[in-house]
Structures are given as C-alpha cells and as structure tokens.
C-alpha cells in the first residue's frame, strides 16, 4: 500500500445535484456507508449466524429432554410440546453412579492445571535467558527451540509411551502432565521471548547496575510486565489441554482413574445405540468451561491464537 490514492474527483451520483462542498462528501459517505452495510449483508450475516448456531442449540435443547423423548422425537418438537428435565445432568454429575461422568470431569481439572502451570513457568525462565542473558550458542539454541514447533506430536507418542513404561509412570497423571508440558514448551518459549524482547533493555540494565541479580529481575520486573503474554499463552494452553483427545487417549488410558472428559465422551460415542441423554449433557458440561474462559478472556485469546496456530 505505497501508492497514494488519487484525489476524489467524482463525488458520486448523490452529490451531483445542487448541493456543494463538504455537504456532498458527507452525503456520499452516508450513502456509501449505507450501501456497504446493506440489508442484504445483514440478512446474509444473520442466516450464517443461525446456521452456525443451530447444531449447538439442538444438542443443548436435547440435553434438557427426557431420555425417552430424545430417542422418540426430534429436538425441534419442543416448540409444540415442551417437556424438559434436569435428569440428564443429574446422571452425568452424580457422585455414585456407573453412568456418572464426574470422575472424568475431576480428571480433566487435575490434568489441566499442572499442564498449564508447568510449561508457562519453565518457558518464562527459558525465554528470559534467551532474551536477556549472554551464553554460548544462545541464538542457535533459540532457533532450534522455535523450529521444534513443527514436530507433530504423533511422531513422539510411541517412544514416549515406552519411556513412561520404563520409568513407571505410564497410565498416571504424571505421564499426561509431562507430555503436555513438553509439547507446550516450544510455542510458550517463542511467544514469551517475542514479548520479552519488547521490554526496553534500559529497564533491565538499570536494575542490573543497581546490583539486582537475574533472579530478582525475573521476579520483580519481568513477571509483572509479562502478564498479558502469560495470559495469552495460558488460555491457549488451557483450551488445548482441556480439549485434547490424542495425548489423553495415548497416555491416560480409558479408565476413570486418569482419563479426562474428552476420552469419556469419545468412548460414549463408540457404544452401540448412542446414549444421547448422556452424550448431550456430558458434552455441555465439558463445553461450558472453555466457553466461559473464552468469553471472559477473549482479547487475550485472540492474541495467542495466531502464534499458536502451528502447534500440535
């Protein structure tokens, strides 16, 4: 966009009449603005929004219908004969029931928190040294860490599985925590490093001259300044771990001891004669958490989104 746009010569049909000067321009602007947000565009946008929302809405309505109704009639029949219940959610969240998904929800929480905290902290330390410390091979090492983002996790799964079996953590939370931490590190280091480089060097130099060690600078100066970047990566990693199926399926197995919600729901879809009353309520219990996180922290999330797009 280096070319200068030509000066406006034609003011458009609306300005061709008796009015002159700025009035023409304003009228045209109004007219164009109107044209660009035309009723057709609005109509098309509404149609698309409805199309995009109906599938979710259908399952949401279903999750509040009695199990017998779900299999007998379509969810849209609630418009004519409404019949709602909280039973499905009670079944899913029951403390003692064979159909309860509560253990898996707990597992999801237990898996997710360390899987977000560990890579954030390790990566912040590493990013700090890449950004503000001198050591031999620093730049080459940073490029290597950055490049590791291209490794698809599929190529790591089987060797890691036998490694975990050798050290006796296979099928435990540790295997899942460590895996998510390792897979999250390249992106985290890259994101946080970029952000740290934007902090003025004089700030760190001044603190160093005052006799502050790297540890002090890291805690007193860096962590507070890094909040937005930490939030961006934290939300990204949270959604990634919470929604992950492949890592959990490989390292956590299927039992309700370790497996998260995604695995439980996945196994339910495989059972014969889909149990929609469980699936619909379970799906929404698992959806509500990331949806709330997303809606409340949207601005941070969008920032991390593009940078993290090659992960996985």
């Amino acid at each position: 966009m280096t070319t200068t746009p030509p000066p406006p010569q034609v003011v458009g049909p609306a300005g061709a009449g008796a009015r002159t000067g700025s009035g023409d321009v304003a009228a045209t602007l109004r007219a164009t603005k109107k044209r660009l947000t035309s009723p057709w565009a609005t109509f098309a946008a509404v149609v698309l929004a409805v199309l995009w929302t109906i599938p979710t809405f259908g399952l949401l309505v279903t999750s509040f219908r009695p199990a017998a109704d779900i299999n007998a009639t379509g969810w849209w029949t609630v418009l004519t004969s409404p019949n709602f219940t909280l039973e499905n959610y009670q079944t899913v969240m029951a403390v003692d029931s064979s159909q309860s998904l509560l253990p898996f929800i707990i597992n999801s929480v237990v898996i997710t928190i360390p899987s977000v905290v560990l890579p954030i902290f390790l990566a912040t330390l590493a990013a700090y040294s890449f950004a503000w410390m001198q050591f031999r091979g620093r730049d080459a090492l940073f490029v290597a860490v950055f490049a590791l983002q291209v490794v698809p996790i599929q190529v790591t799964l089987i060797p890691l599985l036998s490694l975990y079996a050798d050290i006796g953590v296979a099928g435990t939370f540790w295997a899942v925590w460590i895996s998510h931490t390792m897979f999250g590190l390249p992106l985290a280091v890259f994101l946080l490093h970029n952000f740290m480089r934007e902090i003025p060097g004089e700030l760190i130099e001044a603190a160093r001259v005052d006799g502050a060690g790297h540890v002090t600078v890291f805690f007193r100066l860096m962590l507070p300044l890094l909040k937005p970047a930490l939030a961006a990566f934290g939300i990204y990693q949270f959604l990634w771990v919470w929604n992950d199926l492949l890592v959990a399926l490989t390292f956590a197995g299927s039992s309700n001891q370790v497996a998260p919600m995604t695995v439980a729901l996945f196994n339910l879809t495989g059972t014969r004669g889909s149990q929609w009353f469980l699936l619909s309520a379970g799906a929404f219990v698992s959806i509500i958490v990331p949806a709330l996180v997303f809606l409340s922290l949207q601005r941070y999330f969008v920032r991390g989104l593009l940078a993290g797009s090659v992960k996985g």
């Binding site: 966009m1 259908g58 237990v110 090492l141 860490v145 590791l148 492949l246 990331p290």
Partner: protein, 325 residues
C-alpha cells in the same frame, strides 16, 4: 483414587515442581552473589532437557522405527513408505487427507472473510462474531458429538407408512422435502465431506477473527478514498479489501491446512476412520495402537512430519510479512 486423592496428587505435583524450581533459583542467586556470571543454563536447562527427551529423541526413534517391520524385529528399508503410497487402503487415506487439506481451508476462509465483511461496523458486531467464533472454544470431540447428532439416522423403509421419526435435523429436513433420509456418515465417498463440514464449522471462526482484525487495520484513508470514488461493495472487496489483507489471507489458509493435515479427533470420534474416511493422522493411530503395525504407523507419523514442514515454513514467512506491514 477418589476425588480428594486426585486433587491432593495434583497439589503435591505443583508443590514439588515449585520446590525444584525454587531450589534452582536459590542456587542461581547464591552463585550470583559470589560473582558467578554464567547462570543462564539454570534458566534454559530444564526446557532444553525436556525438549530433548520429549520431542527430539522420540522423533528420532520414530524415524528409525519406520524402517522396521510390524513387529519391529527386522529392517525392511522403505517398504513401509511404499506401502503408504501403493496399498489400496492407504491410497484412500491419502486421497481423504488431500481432500481435507484442499477443501477445508478454502471454504472456511471464504465463509470467515464474507462474515467479517458483513458484520464489520454493524450494530452488535462483537456478539455476532462471538457466535461464529464459539465453536473454536469447543473441543473437537464436543464438535463431533454436536454434528453426529445433526447427522443422526433412524431406520427408514420407503415401502411402509409409519417409519420411526428422524431425530437428526438434517435427515428430518430431507423427510420434510419428501426425500429419503441418508446415512450421512456411512455413504462413501460423500461421508468425507460431512466430516469436513465439522472442521469448516470450527475453523470459519478462526478465519473470521484473524481476517476481521486485518480488515480493521486497512488504513482509513484508502477506504475513504475508494468510497469517494464511488466504488460498489464488490469493487471495494476486489480492489481494496482483498489486496490489502492478502498476506493475512495466506496465513489463515495455510494455518487451517496444517490443522487439517493433523486432524484426528473428528475422524476418530465420528467414524473411527471406518467407511473410507480415514486420514493420515487417524491411520497412524489405528496402525500403531489397534492394528499392531507400529512400523507402518511410524511411517505415517513421519509422513505427517514431512508434509507439515513446507507448509509451516511458508506460513511463518507469510506471517512475518503480514506483521511487517
């Protein structure tokens, strides 16, 4: 383990982690007080060790493994790779992967771009965008369940009058217009497209968000000038909007393409890769964990690796270019 045990295990893990890191940092500050300048490795060391164990070493092992047979006992050279490109089953997998990578990015980007333009500056723009974007926050498993319900099929016999009611919306729509309901996830090869719809549904929000930001970053003078020139909406789109956001468009397309190469959850949840719907990432899982052919599984994982690299390199370059503007 009951709930309390699990939570305690988690807290203990976090405490143990904090203790280790605290100890390392304590050592660093003690060393620094003694005038030792070379403390960088304490900061970067844990990450480097974890990456070596978690990514570099396993990737190397998998490459070697792909040169061995199913049991991993005898060296068979590139036979696993020739199998990927010659056996009829694997060719279907490759065909499906190509279909995913070509169709999804284009459709998702077009939908996202149009929507971004339609709602740009409109009243309630933020809410309108959130509706389209929300599928991004839903897990692929959750999205698959949502769509599986849309595609749900109930037995239908055209010769009798009282068939059971369809509970899937799409089949009910077919019944309403007088057509027979379909087994959308079973009928080959169209079932692949119905799986791809799920990915489009998810990724359109991503495309819309990124492209909307790019559209808003177009300098106001350019847009105003074009408006004063009296361009129509479609001219504005062709000669102003698209050229201005071209680098971002490329990044969005390639990013979604990478996601499609690695797509696993959707295929696994909706069809398990049966009925001719498998893709490379799913076939890797099937061969490695259920079919017991780890050699072929490893070759598929390496293939995924090789396919992803050029797109990512291109993507990163475009991303740099987009950011430089």
């Amino acid at each position: 383990m009951n709930v309390a045990d699990k939570l305690v295990a988690m807290v203990l893990a976090l405490v143990a982690f904090a203790a280790v890191i605290g100890l390392v940092l304590l050592v660093v500050s003690l060393l620094e007080r003694r005038g030792v300048r070379r403390v960088a490795w304490f900061f970067v060391g844990p990450t480097v060790v974890l990456l070596l164990i978690g990514l570099v070493y396993p990737a190397g092992r998998t490459v070697v493994r792909s040169l061995y047979d199913a049991a991993g006992t005898s060296f068979i050279g590139l036979s696993n790779y020739t199998a990927v490109f010659s056996s009829p089953d694997q060719l279907v997998v490759l065909r499906n992967t190509v279909l995913w990578v070509l169709v999804t990015p284009v459709v998702a980007t077009v939908v996202g771009l149009l929507y971004a333009i339609w709602v740009n500056g409109a009243r309630g723009e933020a809410a309108a965008k959130a509706l389209i974007f929300l599928p991004m926050a839903i897990s692929f498993v959750g999205a698959s369940i949502i769509w599986k319900f849309v595609y749900e099929y109930r037995f239908y016999d055209p010769t009798v009058a009282n068939n059971p009611a369809q509970i899937g919306l799409l089949n009910q729509l077919l019944v309403w217009v007088g057509l027979p309901p379909q087994q959308f996830l079973l009928n080959q090869p169209w079932n692949n497209l119905f799986l791809i719809v799920v990915m489009i549904w998810i990724q359109a929000g991503f495309a819309m968000t990124i492209l909307s930001a790019a559209i808003k970053a177009i300098p106001g003078e350019i847009v105003e000038a074009a408006r004063l020139d009296g361009v129509t909406a479609s001219e504005m789109f062709r000669f102003v909007t698209v050229p201005a956001i071209r680098p971002t468009l490329v990044v969005v397309l390639t990013t979604i393409a990478i996601g499609c190469l690695k797509v696993f959850d959707i295929v696994r949840t909706m069809t398990g890769g049966l009925y001719g719907t498998s893709v490379v990432a799913n076939e890797f899982y099937t061969q490695s964990f259920t079919a017991g052919n780890q050699g072929l599984g490893a070759a598929l994982a390496v293939l995924l690796f090789i396919l992803v690299i050029p797109i990512i390199v291109y993507n990163v370059r475009q991303l740099r270019r987009a950011e430089a503007r």
